[in-house]
């Protein structure tokens, strides 16, 4: 059997075990290991006497992967980003942000919902995880919206959708993971997330304003905050700006001078700032210990998937499957843009059933080279490329697109984790309620994704400066 056929069989095995409920990390590791045994034994002509030898080589090859792949400087951003998010709770940043957003923005039609969207966008700047963001704001924002007469389903939808902003606006664990898999500059990817994230927030905001102006009985605007009240709401939310500024300045200095360091340092210094803030707000060892334990748990979950999937990827390397797939994609006679759109749609379908990180890790090793080949290769210049952008820029653009797709999947049924979380926080809401309330945001996300595809410069402008 040809290596590529082995690759296909093993990928099928992986899909089956994942669907039947095996933990994704271990299903991928097992598929990779089985695949490696198969490949090496095939190389020995399936000689029964040399099966042990094939097994030994495969086990030792797979056994290198965990240590080899996780001891990477760039990956250290993931735990630091997670820690920032947990520390931010203790620093009281969530409430401060919502309060400030309310006082400054709630006077527009649908004001409280708009404020919620921008508060989640602000919180996204210290939180690397979408689900956590939705959970927190479900507690803070929904009661206030209900108080002034919002439809409870819509209020829940706003929070579920707002939470998805956390993975585009840096810090973002998922963007780091993308950068690692495709071996692109982490700093540039993080920068690239800013504008699409803010852009998504604006589209959400405009959608809410439009709904407020056309639908009768939509939540009223909240007016009457004095400028003094507005100004005093800012200082407690300032650390957010400080974290954002730190991360930006460590990647790119907009004032034309030198950046302050590397992205890795920026993430860790940002965490340190929030840590000091939390200490100042009264965090003690017991709370720090909780934050560290939770960070450790989430980190190890992500890292286990990373090395598990990378064992599978190591096997794919021996099976030459990614190369075969990208040859196939480029040989199609369809227009490249149509193929790209099909790939994005496939992610939308897959995302209905899968977790975002698992989905990206499992698919990118095969899909990413194909997309790059579609654009004309990893080192192509903008002039010679299909999509009018150089290889590295195409990598960034595609990264933002798939992450946006993955985030979209967090609010689509049947498995939309953000919606589950919001329903879980609120006893008065069922999952169906939240899915109903979030439906308008599908339109907003559809528009956002279409615009990001049509106008790549929304994504690429900022990173092209750095």
């Amino acid at each position: 059997m040809e290596p590529i056929e082995i690759g296909l069989w093993v990928s099928g095995l992986l899909l089956a075990t994942v669907l039947l409920g095996m933990r994704v990390a271990f299903a991928a590791g097992l598929a990779g290991l089985v695949g490696l045994v198969w490949i090496f034994w095939a190389k020995f002509g399936y000689d029964p006497e040399r099966f042990t030898k094939a097994l030994t080589i495969a086990v030792k090859t797979a056994g290198q992967v965990p240590h080899s792949k996780v001891s990477s400087q760039a990956l250290s951003l993931i735990p630091t980003f997670i820690l920032i998010g947990y520390l931010a709770y203790y620093a009281g940043l969530t409430k401060a942000l919502f309060e400030a957003a309310k006082r400054w923005l709630a006077w527009v039609p649908g004001g409280l919902a708009v404020s919620t969207v921008f508060a989640t966008a602000g919180f996204a700047a210290v939180s690397g995880a979408s689900v956590a963001t939705s959970a927190v704001f479900a507690r803070i924002a929904i009661p206030e919206m209900l108080k002034i007469g919002y439809d409870k389903r819509f209020a829940a939808g706003v929070v579920a959708a707002g939470g998805t902003l956390a993975s585009l606006i840096p810090p973002s664990a998922i963007l780091v993971i993308y950068a690692i898999i495709v071996e692109q500059d982490v700093g540039k990817l993080l920068l690239a997330g800013f504008i699409p994230g803010a852009f998504s927030a604006v589209v959400y905001g405009l959608l809410i304003i439009g709904m407020a102006m056309t639908i009768k009985g939509f939540g009223p605007a909240v007016t009457g905050f004095t400028w003094r009240e507005r100004l005093v709401s800012l200082p407690p939310a300032l650390p957010i700006l400080f974290v954002v500024a730190t991360i930006i300045l460590f990647v790119y200095n907009p004032f034309g001078g030198d950046a302050w360091g590397t992205p890795t340092e920026g993430g860790a210094i940002g965490a340190f700032v929030v840590f000091l803030m939390a200490l100042y707000r009264g965090m003690r060892w017991a709370e720090l210990k909780d934050a560290l334990l939770e960070t450790a748990k989430l980190s190890v979950m992500i890292f286990t998937i990373i090395w598990g999937v990378l064992i599978y990827v190591r096997f794919l390397g021996f099976a030459e499957l990614p190369a075969a797939f990208s040859d196939w994609i480029t040989s199609l006679t369809l227009s490249p843009m149509l193929i790209l759109i099909c790939i994005l749609l496939a992610y939308a379908v897959l995302g209905m059933f899968m977790d975002a990180i698992g989905m990206l890790l499992l698919t990118l090793p095969v899909v990413y080279p194909a997309v790059m080949a579609l654009n004309g290769g990893e080192y192509v210049s903008a002039a010679e490329s299909t999509f009018g952008m150089s290889g590295p820029m195409c990598a960034i653009w595609f990264g933002i697109l798939v992450v946006k797709m993955a985030e979209f999947c967090l609010i689509t049924p049947p498995i939309g984790l953000n919606c589950f979380v919001v329903a879980g926080v609120r006893d008065d809401l069922t999952v169906q309620d939240v899915f109903k309330g979030v439906t308008p945001f599908f339109i907003a996300d559809g528009i956002t994704i279409a615009l990001l595809v049509a106008f790549p410069s929304i994504v690429l402008w900022l990173p092209s400066l750095a």
Partner: protein, 315 residues
């Protein structure tokens, strides 16, 4: 026979001899013996020796400086200021060292047999700001240099700074480092030349040594014809590499001119001073450390020097 070959990065001057070798071997055996070169798909570069040892692939490239303790004997070739002047000399000293029994024994721990080197030019530095052409100006200079070269710079008061090769450009841009030590092709491919105001043309602080090895069992399992095809192709592959790199070096001057990078020449007495402060103590330390491990360190160092003088009197 089909061999898997593990290299990394993308196809570049640094891998041209491997590509050529694959081409020659296949030609000579009428397609009987092929090599499947994988750029990073089979292993991480720092684990290529592990892969050879396991038998996961049959041939691989690595650099001694990535993991000094894995291959202590070859690190003699990475000592600062060895005095190697060009790529031909680099090939000669590398292959002389590879042929030494102690070196072969060292690599035999990894079930590896040394096939050929990937000669790299001297790691001259590029820098930003005022050109530094005197030792005094190296004080407090933050330089991206690893291993022996890093040690040499710290001997004259510079601060070696830990940055991965892929982050070198960012680090220069952000002022994390003032200078970066690389071979020319790496200054080009990692973009550090685009940030540079100057480049030292004759500092020649040293280089890294990157052998290509084969799995011993796989080598012995080759048919006589195949082994003959492999062995006889090494010189030709190296010649191809040298010609290719030579063309790149010729282009180098025009790249410097185009980017307005100043060529800095360091005076002979400054260089002598640098060697005295950096080269001698580091070499003595190396010889002492390696001898303590029971390795013929002095002999290896002498072998390098003897090969260099033979090479020069011969040519």
């Amino acid at each position: 026979t089909e061999w898997n070959v593990s290299v990394w990065g993308k196809r570049r001057a640094f891998t041209e001899h491997v590509e050529k070798l694959a081409e020659l071997v296949s030609e000579k055996t009428g397609g009987e013996f092929t090599m499947n070169i994988s750029y990073g798909g089979l292993s991480k570069n720092k684990e290529n020796l592990d892969g050879i040892s396991i038998g996961a692939f049959e041939m691989a490239q690595f650099c001694a400086g990535y993991h000094r303790d894995k291959n202590p004997t070859i690190t003699v070739l990475e000592l600062p200021f060895l005095g190697v002047a060009n790529l031909e000399e680099e090939v000669a000293v590398s292959h002389a060292v590879y042929a030494h029994p102690a070196v072969q024994k060292d690599l035999a721990r990894w079930n590896a047999k040394l096939l050929m080197t990937s000669p790299m030019p001297q790691y001259n530095i590029v820098g930003t700001g005022e050109a530094r052409d005197e030792l005094g100006e190296f004080k407090d200079m933050r330089v991206r240099a690893t291993g022996g070269i890093g040690k040499a710079f710290s001997a004259v008061g510079a601060v070696p700074t830990s940055v991965t090769a892929t982050e070198a450009y960012n680090a220069m841009e952000s002022g994390v480092v003032d200078t970066v030590a690389f071979a020319q092709h790496a200054h080009l491919s990692f973009g550090t030349i685009n940030k540079a105001d100057w480049w030292t043309e004759n500092l020649n602080p040293g280089t890294v040594n990157c052998p290509v090895v084969v799995n011993t069992d796989a080598y012995e399992a080759l048919s006589d014809a195949e082994r003959e095809a492999l062995d006889s192709s090494v010189d030709e592959a190296i010649a191809h590499y040298l010609a290719n790199y030579g063309a790149l070096l010729e282009k180098w001057d025009s790249v410097l001119a185009e980017k307005g990078v100043e060529k800095v020449t360091i005076s002979e007495d400054q260089l002598a001073e640098f060697r005295k402060v950096a080269a001698d103590p580091i070499r003595e330390q190396w010889i002492a450390d390696m001898s303590a491990q029971g390795l013929p360190a002095q002999e290896l160092y002498d072998l390098v020097q003897k090969t260099l003088s033979d090479q020069r009197s011969g040519s």
